[in-house]
Symmetry: D3
Subunit: 135 residues, 6 copies
């Protein structure tokens, strides 16, 4: 029996999909509207999942207030109301697809979360398109 706790947050950001190594035609063919030059944006919704034992004293897997602080510091304050391509160093050279954004978020959070605890990420770009990362 394995228990996990989840916490949701959200950020609103602009992005465009683009591979610098490709021609404009190739970018347009592969990424379509997502490649339009002046950016578009999304209300991203982030769910973070932590798996571990329940602390018998608190009844918590982890204090979700502390998880919220980590999520704010590592993700929300850095991405919210930003242009992911222009303002966020990790996407200067990495195409900000929802897969790549989730991967970076996973790595940033993994470094801040106790290594004995399992970590999962779900990131919604829209209600219809989303990704998750499981260990």
């Amino acid at each position: 029996m394995k228990i996990s706790v989840y916490r949701k947050a959200h950020f609103n950001a602009a992005h465009r999909l683009h591979n610098e190594a490709w021609s404009e035609e190739e970018n347009k063919r592969v990424f379509g509207k997502c490649n339009l030059p002046n950016y578009h944006g999304h209300n991203y919704v982030l769910e973070v999942k932590l798996t571990g034992p329940i602390d018998p004293e608190t009844g918590y897997v982890m204090d979700l207030g502390k998880l919220k602080d980590i999520m704010n510091k590592e993700v929300i304050e850095r991405y919210d109301h930003r242009n992911l391509n222009l303002d966020v160093p990790e996407f200067r050279e990495l195409n900000p697809t929802v897969e790549n954004i989730a991967t970076i978020i996973y790595k940033r959070l993994r470094s801040q979360i106790d290594e004995h605890m399992g970590l999962g990420i779900r990131l919604y770009e829209t209600e219809r398109n989303f990704v998750d990362i499981e260990e």
Copy 2:
């Protein structure tokens, strides 16, 4: 007794809030994060409401397939995956707040909908912030 039909659509766009007539400091003070220079974005959700009699032959107030086509032509194809400030002529000089975007959408749809029919608009910028327009 008054009956209305509703149809939903969505578009993903970038924008920033900015008043060209103001100093940078004033813009920052009033619009905060929404004024950041490189744009952010949203998954906008648009609900259109038409009020009118039920056609006794079809049982429709209006064929929602036709309403969908009008919404696509007037709004979705023009705003989706665009930067509202840079790509959409009506926001070159008009600050794209959710109030102003809804007003422009209302006017664009009003010109395409039978004048005997009532028209309403609801526009969600996020699940927490939205506007509506009623006649």
Copy 3:
């Protein structure tokens, strides 16, 4: 200042759109997929709105448990898991568009609700298509 209370319920039903007075071609042209002969269906969601004064003894506009009973008797027990065209007498000759279904529900409930109380109906056929009736 006007206060209204709302109660939600749902029913799952089959239907098709069809005008008996028209040719097959005309039905197909106007109603498209909704006219396919063997029916399709929806998870309908019904919201009922009652407007009236707050009873100072109970603090209720109306006991929502009693409203629920009326909704069950007049709507849910008659429409849930039914074929609206074949099983429900009021749609034998009336095309079960969401507009017509809402109108019939409004009339059925109106006859059961105190005439001094305002009544409104919202009926969702899908999350994207819905109607409301206001007095």
Copy 4:
């Protein structure tokens, strides 16, 4: 043409329904499970609606950040994680039905909002039971 802006917030509170002037039997008969002595609770969701002209300089009906501050001060900080019957003075003698809670919230906010602006309230006790107040 009338434009309104909306802002959502939420609070988690305990309550029970009870009329001190009635016998235990009468309370139980009228309020059922909602009268159980040790309280139950809800995740209340509050939507506030402001109606007024768009300020041509800001493009806002009202700065929703300022509205959020008023909602926090008048409602959220006072009701969140509280027992409405025991901790909130306005419900010491007033039965905290969703109708009465919404009425009190309306009055508290009305006193803080510019009198030229229209104010509406929607309060969800659950997804299935809610009220609204319109002027």
Copy 5:
């Protein structure tokens, strides 16, 4: 670390539950309202999950536009606005429970998706009843 992408779609269909090998009484006893003879229906929501490596050139696990096309061709165009029992060959002899519908969808999609990629299915019959299939 394992990454999955998800894509949602929906179809509206009629069905009834029925086992041809059983008596009417047995069908009624086991399937209740779901066995009523003239069909009922649902707004089905389908989530498809693909698990695989991120392509370093595109930043995609799979182009969700291509997944959407496969979902449309294999599922939506065949089931939407249909009667599953009468119109869809795979349910002529197979009872269209949500479990069986999901299994068939899984098999249809599995044959169209790269075998090195993991595939999962979630199918909602209503918001309250749903299934998933994991490999």
Copy 6:
């Protein structure tokens, strides 16, 4: 290939977080607003997941009507409109965090469900905070 069926239910309850072995200061420091003495409450949403083979006669993993009855008897009738700390014996000595509530629900349901069937639980305290239990 593994198939699971899900069923949702909900209950509205009061609770507070408190460790009897700690000082008031320690309780306040760790649990913050959740420790306030007069309780607060939530609309809890429970999702139960059963994993097992599809019965070839019914097309069901399990009759969800029977699962609903078990969920009602073991959880809803015992927790709904109750104060978890005061009214529910299992939380007299166990702090009713969402982790502990889910664990108890899991154990109660596990004892009622065929041992060959997998069981999972998801419990939402709010839309933003939730837990799941997997075997």
